[in-house]
């Protein structure tokens, strides 16, 4: 692995991960609109935008972050299961992606209801539900935790898989 290719892979992973985080923040703001503003036009505008954001940005970036993260660990000395922080970040990304794929159909249904010409009281109540804010807030917590793990790289090698040796504190991807 040449340093140039390694930097490119790292850039791709950071771009996908930070892009995912930013898109979730935008989604959270859109989700909060119908909850805090009683004007139903806010919900009618927000949900189609949220559905588009999930389908076109958040799901592709989540899959890209997961794929580039796995690739990044395999092409560097960090490995996929040698350090706890790498393993923890992989679990967080995999969990967040799985929950996102399970959640995506619900925003599609909500956007379809928001587009209806006439809304029942139950549908208006559904559009003002904070459920999407709660889901986006949970996703934000997971992604912030993954970002913190990537920056701080807390100590700890996985015993059994790596022999439990205490390695150097420095970034092994920078080893010459």
């Amino acid at each position: 692995m040449t340093p140039g290719l390694r930097k490119f892979a790292l850039t791709a992973h950071i771009t996908a991960s930070v892009g995912w985080l930013g898109a979730v923040i935008a989604y959270l703001v859109l989700a909060a609109g119908p909850v805090v503003d009683p004007d139903i036009r806010v919900a009618r505008a927000a949900y189609p935008a949220m559905e588009l954001l999930v389908r076109s940005v958040i799901v592709p970036l989540s899959l890209a972050a997961l794929a580039t993260g796995v690739a990044q660990s395999l092409i560097t000395a960090w490995g996929l299961a040698r350090h706890y922080w790498v393993l923890a970040k992989l679990l967080l990304n995999a969990l967040a992606t799985a929950l996102l794929l399970l959640y995506a159909p619900s925003i599609e249904r909500t956007a379809a209801i928001a587009a209806k010409a006439a809304l029942s009281d139950a549908e208006v109540s559904m559009l003002r539900s904070p459920a999407h804010v709660i889901h986006a807030g949970g996703a934000l917590v997971l992604l912030l935790a993954a970002t913190a793990l990537a920056v701080y790289k807390p100590r700890g090698r996985v015993a059994g898989l790596s022999g439990g040796r205490r390695g150097p504190r420095r970034d092994p991807s920078r080893a010459r």
């Binding site: 706890y84 139950a122 549908e123 109540s125 559904m126 459920a131 100590r155 700890g156």
Partner: protein, 36 residues
């Protein structure tokens, strides 16, 4: 095993358990529960 791994593992296990319980037992926990 470092302390942070134990704390993180416990929190993650609790989160996964919550999700599984909501999916298996809770039925529709999303905004669709407002619909008849």
């Amino acid at each position: 095993m470092p302390l942070w791994v134990k704390v993180f593992g416990t929190a993650l296990a609790a989160a996964i358990l919550l999700v599984v319980v909501l999916l298996l037992v809770g039925g529709d926990h999303g905004p669709g529960r407002h619909l008849p």
